[in-house]
Symmetry: C2
Subunit: 398 residues, 2 copies
């Protein structure tokens, strides 16, 4: 369990497979984000048919609504949502640190004001572990101190050092939870008689650390060293990127980390990304990605295609019989015309948001699948360059 | 084509089958409403899997958005929306007459102000036929003069008489369109290379008249006589009911019409209904129903169940592992708990609206299927009484 096998490499790019309690994730892979226990606007079957191997749940949002006690009583996030493949939860760190002006950071944890009912709450490294344990995803993330995009060295160091101290606390609490569970009565299983099969190890869970340090290469390296010194780990995440810094800076940080990261562990670049970010990340050794852009853009009628972005409301689509992207194999492109999709958006019909979200999700997942094939063939770098050129220059023609 | 076969009767209740260019509709049947060329919130595959044999499109809405010219250019409403089963369009009459204060009724037609862009538009009996022909549904409806729910005799008579005069004009224009098409070059087919099969008769279309006369039995009978005198027809609709009058009044009107309606023609009760309305209508000889309540209630979190209505936001559902309705075979009930559905509504996730809409649609469609079986067995009336008693007294227990 939690085993990662590296099958092929080409430069820093990697093709591997990660075994988790609920299944195998072939990498590189994009993970759709299911904020409230649903990938926004989509049915779990649609997410599955789009090829998703793993989805992400948001600890912050699920803690506030419906609350981890409800999810646990209903048998955990897998049974509650009926998603039976691997799942990862973030720690809530990114969300609470985003509540600028509504949160107070202390060594103990973060006090914040709920965006829903205005109540005061606290998340600590320990409670983040407890919440994530109750949610029961395959992978839990460490509660980290996230600093703003282009934070100065001193602030970035503070966040990075605190993240290491919190890593110790997270690991301790998480180990306790695992030990308690492992020494409990056999068959101590979620009680809901769900229609979905659940592996006897479904409630087993691993914990991944997060590398911080902002855009400062020396801090990133110290963060990595401190993290590895506390290892071993079954996966390592890189946080605090794609938060406002220029893309070349993100690339430089990734390039600095890649040679120092252990080869046998999957690397997860948090909150990234857009189609070009995926290819640039993969070229720099990243195995896993997540981002809400696919569904958020989909809801706003912005579709990614192999020839660039398409605004689904554009008047030029009014009579277009063509699919969103002639190269795409998603359910939307196989069935519906641009004209119909435009009509749904103009008439503010929910189906439109859904159909474009399905397309965007599939677009990123397929990009991971294609990259994997190209890495296996040793043609990834050439393919990536051709792909990016077409994507950046054609601007949504069809 | 357009043949109706009556297989079984029990009292006034009927089990039949209606052959249309895009397929057979086994009656009694509920038709989901696809206002803007989509059953709100649902994918055509979901509507199909819910057992829908025929859906309804709204001429008024489609005329304004995207406009019938767009739909026709894309190959008609079937290809545009990818719904390949039978379809019926209303005439726009009900919608324009609902625009109280924004419309002017003349013998020529109705002038109204578009609710979208404020432009002034006119629909006449002739243009309604032209719009519906361009949309290309299997069944077009006559442009009728709808009067308010409990209109006095004089106003109801005016609307009823005008509906008969407009029926003449609709029939004339519709016949011209059919003749033009039939004498045109062979294979004058919609041009879109759609992935869906289209019958060579797909653009054939029939026209159904609408009985008006408000709640006045004598006017209803005159409307029916005038309509039959202008026949024969392949179907007859009953309009202007379920618009505010007490339910016993609607039942009385239906009871008055039933013996006088020709047995070999399907009867369509427009804009009805709720679960109990379906059973009461079937008992009074109705074969077809349509109503937006299933999806509208679904979007508002109100679910019909065999034991009454359930408010999906109720606190009592918070930890309920039960499906919405243990007796239901819909996709939602087979997969999701009340607790999860409640969570989706509390978190304002679109998936919630969809899942409850799927349930409500399936609930009405299944009611038609069950009624059909009971009529075939000769046990409909007893079943209906038991069903209604349980529905009205149990109030959503599970």
């Amino acid at each position: 369990m939690f085993e990662f096998q590296l099958h092929h490499t080409e430069g820093q790019a990697r093709a591997g497979s990660l075994t988790l309690p609920h299944g195998i994730v072939e990498t590189p892979a994009f993970m759709p984000v299911g904020t409230h226990g649903t990938v926004r606007g989509l049915h779990p079957e649609e997410v599955r048919r789009a090829g998703a191997q793993i989805v992400l749940g948001n600890t912050y949002h699920l803690h506030l609504r419906p609350g981890e006690a409800v999810v646990q009583a209903l048998g955990g996030l897998h049974r509650f949502t009926t998603w039976d493949r691997p799942m990862l939860t973030d720690s809530g760190g990114f969300q609470v640190f985003s509540l600028e002006g509504l949160r107070k950071i202390e060594e103990h944890g973060v006090q914040f004001v709920s965006h829903i009912d205005g109540s005061t709450r606290t998340i600590t490294p320990e409670s983040s572990m407890e919440i994530q344990w109750a949610l029961g995803a395959d992978v839990a993330m460490v509660f980290d101190h996230v600093v703003p995009g282009q934070a100065p060295w001193e602030l970035a160091e503070e966040g990075m050092e605190r993240t290491l101290r919190w890593l110790d606390r997270c690991r301790r609490r998480h180990s306790e939870l695992v030990d308690q569970w492992a020494s409990g009565p056999v068959g101590q299983e979620p009680r809901l008689g769900s229609p979905l099969p659940t592996s006897p190890l479904a409630h087993w869970q691993t914990l991944w650390p997060i590398i911080q340090g902002g855009t400062h290469d020396d801090l990133r390296m110290r963060s990595l060293e401190g993290t590895l010194a506390r290892g071993p780990w079954t996966g390592i995440a890189i946080g605090g990127l794609s938060v406002g810094e220029p893309k070349p800076v993100m690339h430089r940080v990734l390039e600095g980390l890649a040679p120092a990261l252990p080869a046998g562990v999957p690397r997860y670049l948090m909150g990234v990304g857009f189609p070009d970010d995926l290819l640039e990340g993969i070229a720099r050794g990243v195995d896993l990605f997540d981002c809400v852009a696919a569904t958020r853009n989909g809801r706003h009628g912005s579709a990614w295609t192999s020839t660039g972005k398409v605004n689904i409301r554009a008047a030029s689509l009014k009579l277009s019989e063509a699919p969103l992207d002639a190269d795409c194999d998603c359910e939307t492109c196989r069935r519906f015309s641009r004209s119909y999709l435009r009509h749904l958006f103009m008439a503010e019909e929910m189906l439109g948001l859904r159909l474009v979200s399905i397309h965007n999700i599939r677009f990123l997942i397929r990009l991971g699948e294609q990259a994997r094939v190209e890495i296996q063939r040793g043609t990834f770098d050439r393919w990536r360059q051709t792909w990016l050129e077409r994507y950046h220059t054609r601007r949504g023609e069809s």
